[in-house]
C-alpha cells in the first residue's frame, strides 16, 4: 500500500489549477445552455430537462450511437493487438531501432484534415495507389459508393493513423523492463509465450491502460478524418456521433439541444471509460496476486 501523505496535494496543485482553469468554465457554460431555450441573445427561457428528453428520444441519435460503438470497438480490437505485436517486433537497439521509431511515428504527425485529404486521393480508383491496387486485383472498390467499403476505409485509415500510438507506448514500456527479469526467465527455461504472458504483459499494464482509454475516447470523438474523407456517407454509413452532433449544432443552429447532446455524449464516454478503467485495474490486480 502507498503511504498516506496529504502534503502530496501540493505536488498536484499546479496540474489541478492548469486543468480546472480550462475545464470548469466550459462545463458550466454547456450546462447553462442545455437547460435554456435561447431565442436571441437577450431573451432566454428556462426549459429544464426538455432538451435532454428530446435528444434521448432521437432515433437518428440511437443509430449514430450504435455505429459509433461498433466503430470504436473495432478500432480497439484491431489497434491494441496490432500495436503490441508491432512493439514486440521492433528492434531494440542500433540504427534500425531509430529508423523504425521515426517511420512508425510519421503518421501521427500529419494534421487530421490532411490525413483525410490524403486518403481521399489515395483511395481513388483512378489516381490513388490503394484504389488502383484494389481494382487491379479485381475488387470493385469505391469508398464513395459502397457503404461497407467506406466504413472499412475509415477503419483502415484510423488503424494506419493511430496504431503507432499504441506501438510507441508499448515499445517504451517494454524497454523499461529490467534485464534481470529476462535473465530469470531464461534460467527457468520459460518459453517466449510464457515470457510474454507473465513478464511483458503485466509490465505493460500501465501503458496499455493509457493506450486503451486514449484510443477508445479519441475514436469515440472521431470527426475530422471521416468528415473530410466521406462526409458521413454514403447514406449514413460513416456518420458517427460527433458528426451527427455537428450537423445538429451547425445545421440547425440550436445551442440548447446541441449542449444537451454534448453533455449526454460526454456522460456516455465517461461511463464507458470508467467501466474499462475499473475492468482493466481488476484484471491487473488479479494478475498480480495470482501470477507472483
Amino acid at each position: 500500500m502507498k503511504p498516506v501523505n496529504q502534503k502530496a496535494w501540493f505536488l498536484v496543485l499546479p496540474v489541478f489549477i492548469c486543468v480546472a482553469f480550462s475545464a470548469i468554465l466550459p462545463l458550466m457554460t454547456v450546462v447553462n445552455y442545455s437547460v435554456q431555450d435561447i431565442i436571441d441573445p437577450t431573451r432566454r427561457v428556462f426549459v429544464g430537462t426538455e432538451w435532454f428528453a428530446s435528444v434521448m428520444r432521437d432515433e437518428d441519435l440511437h443509430a449514430a450511437l450504435l455505429r459509433q460503438l461498433g466503430f470504436s470497438l473495432s478500432v480497439l480490437l484491431v489497434e491494441i493487438p496490432l500495436g503490441i505485436a508491432l512493439a514486440l517486433s521492433m528492434p531494440a537497439t542500433g540504427w534500425k531501432a531509430s529508423a523504425t521509431l521515426v517511420l512508425v511515428a510519421l503518421s501521427l504527425l500529419i494534421p487530421w484534415n490532411v490525413v483525410g485529404t490524403i486518403w481521399q486521393i489515395y483511395g481513388r480508383a483512378d489516381i490513388g495507389l490503394l484504389g488502383a491496387t484494389l481494382q487491379a486485383i479485381g475488387i470493385d472498390y469505391s469508398y464513395t459508393g459502397n457503404a461497407t467499403h467506406a466504413w472499412l476505409t475509415v477503419l483502415v485509415m484510423d488503424v494506419w493513423h493511430w496504431t503507432p500510438l499504441v506501438a510507441l507506448l508499448c515499445y517504451a514500456g517494454l524497454r523499461a523492463i529490467p534485464d534481470a527479469y529476462y535473465q530469470a526467465a531464461r534460467i527457468d527455461g520459460a518459453s517466449k509465450l510464457a515470457v510474454f504472458r507473465y513478464i511483458q504483459l503485466p509490465k505493460l499494464r500501465g501503458v496499455l491502460m493509457i493506450a486503451v482509454l486514449l484510443r477508445f475516447m479519441d475514436s469515440f470523438m472521431i470527426y475530422t478524418e471521416p468528415f473530410v474523407l466521406t462526409g458521413g456517407g454514403p447514406g449514413n454509413a460513416t456518420t458517427f456521433l460527433s458528426q451527427y452532433l455537428t450537423q445538429k449544432a451547425v445545421g440547425q443552429f440550436d445551442v440548447g439541444p446541441a449542449a444537451a447532446f454534448s453533455l449526454i455524449y460526454f456522460l456516455i464516454i465517461l461511463l464507458l471509460c470508467f467501466i474499462l478503467y475499473n475492468w482493466m485495474q481488476r484484471v491487473g490486480t488479479a494478475d498480480k496476486s495470482g501470477g507472483a
Binding site: K2, W9, V12, V30, A180, A249
Partner: protein, 270 residues
Amino acid sequence: MHENRFHKRSLFLLAYLLFAVLPIYWMVNMSFKTNEEILASFSLLPQQFTWDNYKVIFTDASWYSGYLNSLLYVAINTVISLTVALPAAYAFSRYSFLGDKHVFFWLLTNRMTPPAVFLLPFFQLYTTLGLMDTHLAVALAHLVFNVPLAVWILEGFMSGIPREIDETAYIDGYSFPRFFLTIFIPLIKAGIGVAAFFCFMFSWVELLLARTLTSVNAKPIVAVMTRTVSASGMDWAVLAAAGTLTIVPGAIVIWFVRHYIAKGFAMGRV
C-alpha cells in the same frame, strides 16, 4: 528455429512499415506534381517533376509563418505540460491522499469532451483576458488535453520503478528536490521522452481550438492549410507539400527523443 522466428518478426515489421509508409509516399509523390497531373492520371513517380508547390510555401509569409507560430505554441505547451505533470505524477504514483483516485480519473475526463464544446467558452475567456491571437492562448488552451495525458503517461512509468529507490535515497540524506532531479528523472527518461513526444504531437495536429483562438499573429499551420480549399477548387498539390512539411518538425523531435524511448533503463546498475 530461432532463425525462423526472427524472419517472421522481420517480415511482419516490414509489412507494417510498408502499410505505414505508402500513404505518406503518396502524399510526397503528390507534392512534386502539378494539380493537373494529380487529377489526370495515375503514376508512381511525378511525370513532370516540379518544386513549385514548395516554392509557394517558402516564399509566402502567411505560409511559413504558420509553421513558426505552430512551433512556438507547441514548444510552450510541451514545456508547461511536462513541468507541471512531473511532480503531480510522482505524487499519484507514490502517495495516497484525499481524493487521489478521483482527481486522477477526473484529469482524464477532460479529454473526453468533444473539442467543439470548448470553443465558445474559450473564445469568451481569452477575449476577456486579452490573450486572443497570441501564442500563449493556444498553448494554455491545449493544456486541457495535454496535461492529463502527460500525468497519466508519467505515472505509468513512475509506478514501474520500485519504491525502495526513493526510500534508500531519503535515508542517504537526499532532499526531495535533489532526489527528484538527480536520481528519479534520469530513471524515467523513457517516460519523459514518450510524454514529450505525445504532447508535441497532440498540440501540433489540433485544429479547432488553434484556429478559433487566433486570427493573424499566431495563426497556426493547420489553419493556414484550410485555405487550400478555395472557390477555384482544391489545391491538392500545395496541400500535399504543406502536409509533407508538417511531418518534418515532429520527425526531428522523435529523432531527438528516440534514445530516451529506446533505451529505457537498466535496473541492474542502480
